[in-house]
């Protein structure tokens, strides 16, 4: 039910099993069970707190990419936008003395603005957003570095840094519910508003949508702006966790975010070709990736092999998903 386009063919128990979200949820349950048995430290309140914090951040990063994937485009500049916005927010808080909430709003608005630029460039130039955001990831990051002289803001107000320490029930970071609320909002947006539906339609078949009176270009710009805003939000969450706004927090020109950004939606069943979105899948996808990373780090394989395991698991997940959809397709055409 979390898939925006219902009617995945087979209903009932089989149909449910064939759905991506259920598969992911099962996989997560299995992984948690394994990690918890192998390493008791996995379920310690301390680890759960750390895990839920990273999970929340990665979910927002994944959602930020998801909203652009829906249009059939992509946003390589999520990381750059996130960092650039946070540096602005950090400057506002620390240097300009703007209160925390307005500063955060400013950062998110700035992220939306950078995303809006991406959208406008994509639409106006008529080239794929891959190229546009490839250029702007470099452009935004370069501008940010020039403006900040690559220096961090590490004397952020207490009330902001405390957001990163927020915890519920002793072990759930405030970041996780925040991400879930954002997810819920996006689900409602894509399933219960006309603009959200139009974005999906335009992503699935721009010509048909255009001829049906949808302003396709506007849907693209909106999606990019939304992606920018979410990128900025993820940046703020990360800065609150780190207790500082760092130019390096998304890696070289923001590329450090790309893997989680693509992993979550792709694992969750959002099509790279656009038009189909799964918010729940993205959330679960992000959860799975963080659980695997966290669990692997705690096992004895050593931190240096974690990335390779992640890659292998991603590959396996993508292949499994493919096999699942091929089988589902076959069953339908026989029926």
């Amino acid at each position: 039910m979390a898939t925006a386009t219902t009617g995945r063919g087979g209903r009932g128990a089989l149909g449910l099993l064939a759905s991506n979200e259920v598969g992911l949820a099962l996989l997560i349950a299995v992984l948690v069970a394994i990690f918890a048995t192998v390493n008791p430290g996995f379920t310690s309140p301390f680890n759960l707190f750390a895990l839920s914090r990273v999970m929340g951040i990665d979910m927002v990063i994944g959602l930020s990419m998801m909203v652009v994937l829906v249009t059939g485009g992509l946003n390589l500049a999520v990381g750059s936008i996130g960092v650039a916005s946070v540096m602005l927010g950090g400057w506002a808080m620390q240097v300009a003395g703007v209160p925390v909430l307005p500063s955060m709003t400013l950062a998110v608005a700035f992220g939306a603005f950078l995303g809006w630029i991406n959208g406008q460039l994509t639409v106006r130039m008529g080239v794929h957003s891959f190229i546009v955001t490839l250029a702007t990831m470099s452009l935004f990051f370069g501008a940010m570095i020039v403006a900040t002289r690559a220096e961090a803001f590490n004397a952020l107000p207490r009330s902001f840094v405390d957001l990163g320490k927020l915890r519920y029930g002793g072990f759930v970071s405030g970041m996780l519910p925040l991400a879930l609320i954002v997810g819920l909002g996006l689900w409602l947006f894509f399933n219960r508003t006309s603009l959200g539906r139009e974005i999906l339609a335009a992503g699935a078949n721009p010509q048909a949508a255009e001829l049906s009176g949808v302003r396709v270009n506007r849907t693209i710009v909106v999606a990019h702006a939304l992606s920018g805003a979410l990128g900025a939000l993820a940046g703020l969450m990360l800065a609150a966790r780190n207790g500082a706004a760092l130019p390096s927090m998304a890696g070289h020109i923001g590329m450090g975010w790309l893997l989680p950004a693509f992993l979550a939606p792709v694992l969750g069943g959002t099509l790279l070709t656009g038009g189909v979105v799964s918010v729940a899948g993205t959330v679960l996808g992000a959860a799975m990736v963080t659980i695997i990373t966290n669990g692997l780090l705690q096992l004895q394989i050593g931190e240096f092999w974690v990335q390779m395991c992640l890659g292998l698991i991603l590959l396996a997940a993508v292949l499994l998903d493919r096999a699942r959809s091929v089988i589902a397709e076959r069953r339908r055409s026989v029926a």
């Binding site: 490839l134 250029a135 702007t136 470099s138 452009l139 070289h252 790309l258 240096f304 390779m308 590959l315």
Partner: protein, 315 residues
């Protein structure tokens, strides 16, 4: 004939490169010094191979995000096999190329057999190859690179580095591939219209796999040159290749959807990027501006290309 050159993808770029070069030479005499030319050509050597590696995949209408990861993995395998196992240089080179061929094979076979987009597959393999690299090296460089390799990395004749020979040969071969060989033409046909290529009896799977292998081998050459240049097997080799690998072919007029690339244009794209880098250094401009310029340059190049396409398109 003249009209052909005018209408070609690369004429505008050629003028831009020429003007930029002349301008630099006039304002900064140091630009033409043999040492500066040498530095310039060294980075051209590396970038040209990286750009070609991506261009081959763009030609078939796909993307290869793992170019840098393959380059890095080969680089550390090359250096590591010589340091740890004491392999002779030629054997280490062969090992590097073989590893690349395997990586390419994996990318190609997976994309073709599963039908999953190359973007997703190479995103996954990027992580695997890079993960292998980090796992093997534990993020520490291999320092024991033999002197022959180091010497090759430093050798030059006036302004010409010896290692320039590698990209020059590669560029000529790739040019021949796409302009004169059946395989290359089939790659372009496949990139332009996969269905039509299939109907024309082209063995699509085979062509896709070969393209990925070629791409990986080019990335491997870049990786090994980087070892020779840096004089050590640095695990971070390849980390910063992604943007340039797309920037140069796209500046050179490649169509990202596939079916059209320009070898000369791509090389000129590399030249322009190298010149800009060099100019920023020579003119003492903050190196942080490099990113800004590169981003702006891609946008301008793509914008110009679109504009030209629209004007040339039959009304």
């Amino acid at each position: 004939m003249l009209k052909g050159i005018w209408g070609s993808d690369w004429f505008g770029l050629f003028v831009v490169a020429l003007v930029a070069g002349t301008g630099l030479a006039l304002f900064q005499p140091a630009f033409l010094s043999p040492f500066n030319l040498y530095v310039l050509l060294i980075s051209f050597s590396l970038w040209a191979l990286v750009a070609m590696a991506q261009m081959v995949i763009i030609a078939i209408g796909q993307m290869n995000l793992s170019v840098g990861a393959i380059g890095g993995l080969v680089a550390i395998s090359f250096a590591g096999s010589m340091e740890v196992w004491g392999l002779p240089v030629p054997a280490a080179i062969l090992l590097g190329l073989a590893i690349a061929a395997l990586c390419g094979l994996l990318n190609g076979v997976m994309t073709h057999v599963t039908g999953i987009s190359a973007f997703v597959i190479t995103l996954a393999t990027l992580s695997i190859f890079k993960g292998l690299n980090i796992g093997i090296t534990e993020a520490q460089p291999f320092y024991g690179v033999p002197d022959v390799v180091k010497a090759f990395g430093n050798a030059r004749f006036e302004g010409l580095p010896h290692m320039l020979i590698v990209p020059v040969v590669a560029i000529i071969l790739i040019w021949l591939l796409f302009n004169r060989m059946v395989l290359g033409r089939q790659m372009l046909a496949l990139g332009a219209n996969r269905h039509a290529a299939e109907l024309s009896g082209i063995r699509v799977g085979r062509v896709v796999v070969i393209a990925h292998v070629i791409s990986a081998v080019l990335a491997a050459m870049a990786g090994m040159l980087a070892v020779a240049r840096l004089q050590l097997g640095q695990p971070t080799i390849g980390d910063d290749w992604l943007i340039l690998s797309f920037a140069a072919p796209v500046i050179g007029g490649a169509v990202l959807a596939g079916g059209h690339i320009s070898v000369i244009g791509t090389c000129l794209g590399v030249v322009i990027v190298t010149l800009i880098n060099n100019a920023l250094v020579l003119l003492g401009i903050d190196p942080f501006f490099v990113q800004l310029f590169l981003g702006g340059l891609i946008l301008i190049a793509v914008g110009l290309n679109r504009w030209r396409e629209r004007r040339l398109a039959p009304a």
